[in-house]
């Protein structure tokens, strides 16, 4: 997994490439939670390069969402690939996350 953070105003766009699974879920959880603790609570997770997610990865998404719910910020997802979108749909995650077609629409909210 690779993470690349691009600021856009007070929003952090985090692009994730590769897999989020049981083995590496912590590599997403730790830096993003640190970002939130550091005061960046407006986060867009750009999933265009995300090609695999398991329940361990979904768990991290939920942890981030819950953490941000206690702040005035937001957590938005963009560019989900169809196969990832399907996992979100069957697990009910599509309805608890704000999912946008691309980063521009995610920035507008």
């Amino acid at each position: 997994m690779n993470l690349q953070v691009t600021p856009s105003g007070d929003v952090k766009i985090v692009r994730i490439d590769g897999r989020v699974d049981t083995i590496n879920a912590g590599e997403l959880e730790k830096p993003v939670l640190e970002m939130i603790e550091g005061g960046s609570n407006k986060i867009i997770l750009d999933c265009s390069g995300l090609n695999y997610i398991s329940s361990s990865g979904l768990r991290v998404f939920l942890v981030i969402q819950k953490r941000i719910m206690g702040t005035p910020g937001f957590f938005r997802l963009s560019n989900l690939q169809p196969s990832i979108r399907e996992i979100f749909d069957i697990s009910g995650f599509s309805t608890i996350f704000s999912v946008y077609a691309d980063n521009d629409s995610a920035l507008k909210g």
């Binding site: 699974d21 049981t22 768990r59 819950k66 196969s83 009910g92 608890i96 996350f97």
Partner: protein, 142 residues
């Protein structure tokens, strides 16, 4: 003419790091049995969930245990059987999580077996000779 029956197997030990071997095995199996890529991803997810459960909750001791993954393809019907010698545990007895709860009330975790059930057509558990058998089937659409 009867459908050709193909079979393959993979033996792993009870360590999370073995998920890497499962991923590589499935990629190769997907090529060999001509599975579409989204199916390979779904099967990877199913096996990650099932094996993670066994590794994390199946054993009290620190000894090495073997987990067998058996793959069979008969016509368009895929059967995957996981065999482990961990505690007796029937994942099919678990209630589905409420997937309509808002984020604040969603419990963290408990999704694994639910995803397996959603992706596979049938999920059957058997306990035989002190071993757990999880038998998963799916009709392959080409």
């Amino acid at each position: 003419m009867a459908d050709e029956i193909k079979s393959r197997q993979l033996q792993i030990v009870n360590q999370i790091g073995e998920l890497v071997r499962i991923e590589a095995f499935l990629e190769e199996l997907g090529d060999s049995w001509e599975f579409p890529l989204p199916l390979v991803m779904s099967l990877n997810l199913v096996l990650e969930e099932a094996v993670t459960n066994i590794v994390q909750y199946g054993y009290d001791d620190t000894a090495e245990h073997f987990i067998d993954l058996l793959f069979g393809l008969e016509g368009d019907r895929l059967t995957i059987t996981l065999v482990d010698d961990g505690h007796e545990y029937d994942p099919t007895a678990r209630e589905d999580p409420d997937i309509h709860l808002p984020a604040g009330e969603r419990p963290i975790g408990g999704l694994g077996i639910f995803l397996i059930r959603k992706i596979m057509d049938t999920v059957v558990y058997q306990r035989k000779e002190n071993k757990n058998y999880l038998i998963l089937t799916k009709k392959i659409e080409s």
